[in-house]
C-alpha cells in the first residue's frame, strides 16, 4: 500500500523482502554469538570473541556489496558480516569446536578468524592492522586486472593506531583504490578507552589526510549504515576512490571470554549499552513501518534458533583433525 510519505528504506531502494533478510541475518548472528558464550561456559568452546552490538553495520555492509565478487578482509568481530555474505552457522560452529571440517581453517585457528576463498573472505590472523594493507593489495590487483571488484576491510578503533592502518589508507588514497575501510568504533580496545587511543572523536576525520572520503555514521542504525556504505561501494566500483567509514557501535560483551569488562567499565555505562541494541532498533523500525508483524519476528527467531541448534549438534559430532595433519599445507601440495 502506497503511503504519502516515502519510507526510509524505500528511499534507499530496499524492499520489504530485503529488509527481512537483513533482519534475519542480524538475528542469526546474535543467536550464534550468544550460543558460543553458552558453549564456553559449558567448557565446550575454549575461546570466544564476540560481535554483539556490531551487527547492523556489518549486515549493512554485506548487503551493500556483491557477495562472491567483492572482497572482505575481516577482523575478529565480523561474525554477522560473514554470515550475511553466505557463511553458514554450521561453518562457524565447526570453527568454535576446532573441527577438521571447519572451512575457515580446518580447526587450526581460534574461532572468529574467518576465511573462505569461495565467499571471498580473506583469511585473517590475530594481528591487528595487517589486513588493511591486504585490502589495498586486493584492490590494486583488481585495478591492475581491469576488474570492477571492491575490497572492504574492517578493524576496530584500536587498530587504527597501527602503522599498517596508516600505510594501507595511504595506498588507498594514492591510487584511488576501490577500497572501503570500516572502523567499528566500540569505544574500547580491550580496556583502553577511545580517549587514550586517538585525539579525535571520529577516526573518519583523518580521511582528508589520506585523500579518501571520510564518513561518520551511527553504527547501530542499519539503514543509515546501508546508506553510507552503499554510496562508498558504488564510489569504489565507479573508480572514484576509497572511503573510510567510522561507525560508532556498542560492545555488549567483554573483549573475549578471557576478559571481564566490569573491571574497567562503569556499571551505568554497561546498563546504558543495552539501550543501543542495533537489532532492537531495527526490529522497532520494521514493526512501526508494518514491514514485519510480531508473528514474523517470532518465526524468524525460531528459525534462527533452530539453525543454531542444528549447527551445534553437527559441529559437536564432527571429527577433530588428525594430529599428524598438523604437518600439512605448510607449502603447496601436489
Amino acid at each position: 500500500m502506497a503511503t504519502a510519505k516515502e519510507t526510509r528504506h524505500a528511499g534507499l531502494g530496499l524492499d520489504p523482502e530485503r529488509l527481512l533478510a537483513m533482519y534475519r541475518q542480524m538475528v542469526l548472528a546474535r543467536a550464534v554469538d550468544r550460543r558460543m558464550w553458552v558453549l564456553n561456559r559449558q567448557g565446550k568452546a575454549p575461546f570466544v570473541i564476540s560481535g554483539q552490538g556490531h551487527e547492523a553495520v556489518q549486515v549493512a555492509a554485506a548487503n551493500a556489496m556483491i557477495p562472491g565478487k567483492d572482497w572482505l578482509v575481516p577482523y575478529y568481530r565480523d561474525l554477522a558480516f560473514c554470515l550475511a555474505l553466505g557463511m553458514s552457522a554450521r561453518d562457524f560452529l565447526l570453527s568454535v569446536y576446532g573441527r577438521a571440517e571447519d572451512p575457515n581453517s580446518g580447526g587450526r585457528q581460534m574461532p572468529s578468524h574467518f576465511g573462505s576463498s569461495r565467499l571471498r573472505i580473506i583469511t585473517k590472523s590475530s594481528v591487528v592492522g595487517t589486513q588493511i594493507a591486504h585490502a589495498a593489495g586486493l584492490a590494486y590487483a583488481a585495478k591492475l586486472r581491469g576488474l570492477d571488484e571492491v575490497a572492504v576491510t574492517c578493524i576496530g578503533e584500536g587498530g587504527t593506531s597501527q602503522g599498517d592502518w596508516h600505510e594501507g589508507l595511504n595506498w588507498a588514497g594514492i591510487h584511488r583504490l576501490p577500497f572501503l575501510c570500516i572502523v567499528q568504533d566500540n569505544d574500547y580496545a580491550i580496556s583502553v578507552p577511545h580517549r587514550l587511543q586517538m585525539g579525535v572523536d571520529s577516526v573518519a576525520k583523518r580521511a582528508e589526510g589520506y585523500g579518501v572520503v571520510g564518513v561518520s555514521v551511527d553504527g547501530g542504525d542499519l539503514l543509515a549504515c546501508y546508506d553510507a556504505l552503499k554510496a562508498a561501494v558504488e564510489r569504489a566500483r565507479a573508480g572514484d576512490g576509497a572511503t573510510l567509514v567510522a561507525a560508532k557501535v556498542a560492545r555488549f560483551t567483554s573483549h573475549s571470554s578471557d576478559d571481564d569488562q566490569r573491571r574497567y567499565r562503569p556499571q551505568a555505562e554497561l546498563e546504558a549499552l543495552l539501550r543501543r541494541d542495533p537489532i532492537e532498533r531495527f526490529r522497532g523500525y520494521l514493526l512501526d513501518e508494518g514491514v514485519m508483524a510480531e508473528e514474523d519476528d517470532d518465526r524468524i527467531q525460531q528459525e534462527c534458533t533452530a539453525d543454531v541448534d542444528e549447527a551445534v549438534t553437527y559441529a559437536e559430532a564432527a571429527a577433530s583433525p588428525v594430529a599428524e595433519d598438523a604437518l600439512r599445507n605448510v607449502y603447496a601440495e601436489g
Binding site: 576465511g115 576463498s117 595487517t130 593489495g137
Partner: protein, 327 residues
Amino acid sequence: MAEKTLIQGVREALMEEMERDERVWILGEDVGRKGGVFLATEGLYDRFGEARVLDTPLAESSIVGVAIGAAMNGTIPVAEIQFADFIHPAFDQIVSEAARIRYRSNGDFGCPIVIRAPFGGGVHGGLYHSQSVEAFYAHVPGLKVVIPSTPEDTKGLLKSAVRDPDPVLFFEHKKTYRLIKGEIPEGEYLTPIGKAAVRRQGERLSVFAWGLMVHYCLQAAEELERDGISVEVVDVRTIKPLDKETILRSVEKTARALVVYEDNLTGGFGAEISAIIAEEAFEHLDAPVVRVAAPDIPAMPFNKPQEDFFLPGPERIAAAMRKLAAY
C-alpha cells in the same frame, strides 16, 4: 656467450617472467623510472609501464602487505625491499601473514609472492646497509629463502621463485652484483629451488657457504690447493628448503666440515647446518664441525679496519681450512 654481471641475471629474469606472464608485476621504492638504487629493474618501467613497475611509498610493511593482498587476487607480485636492513618493518607481514596464509587457511589460500632484497656487506654500507638477515626467515616454516651466488643461478633461481606457489625471499649479495661475472643462459632457464651446488670438488674437507662467502671460500680453496690440500666447496644456494642430502654426502666423503657465513656467529644459519652435520653425520666426522662467521657485535661498522674485522675474508677462511685439515 658473453660474460654478464649478477645483477643482469636479476634483470633478465624479471624481464622474461613479466613478458611470459602478465600477472607478474613489481613494486618497491625507486624501482620505476630510476630502475632501482642498484639498477636491478632498469628498463622494466619503459617496457611494462607504471602499473606493473610501481614506485611505492617509503613504507616496507605495506610493500609486503600490498603484495600479499594482490597475490590473493590473481597476481604475482615481486616486491623489492631496497636493502635487507630495511626489511624489519615488514617482519610482521612476512612472518605472521605471508608465511602462514596457506597453513592457517588449511590450504584454502596461497601467497605466491617474491621479496627481493640486497643484503650483505663489504661495500662500506655501515650498520644499516650491510646486514645479513637470512637466519630470521630461515626459522619460519612457510617461507622459502634463496641466495644465489652466480649470474646464471640468479636468473634461474629468480625465475623459479616467480613461479613458486609460496612466498620466496630472494636475497642478493650487493657486493656480488657487479663483482661476480659469468655466463647467463639465454631464454628459458630454471634452477630448482632446494638444490645446493658443488662448486669445487675436493677430498680433504668440505666447506658450506652462500652469497659472497662462496667466492671467498673458492679463493681460499685455491690457495690451499697450492699446498696440496683439496677442499670441496658447496654453494648452499637455498637456505630454505635446505638441501641436506648434498651437504651430508659431501661430509661423508671428506669427514671434515667448515661452515662459513657473514651473519653474526650466534644463531646464524650456519649454526643450523652445523647442528645437522653433528646430528646426522657424526660417525663420518674426523674433526669437530667448525664455523667461521662475523663476531657477535651489532652490525658491520663503516670504517675499513672494522669492516674487514667483521667480514670473514679469504685469509681468515683459509686459516680455518688449514687448521681443520690438520686436525
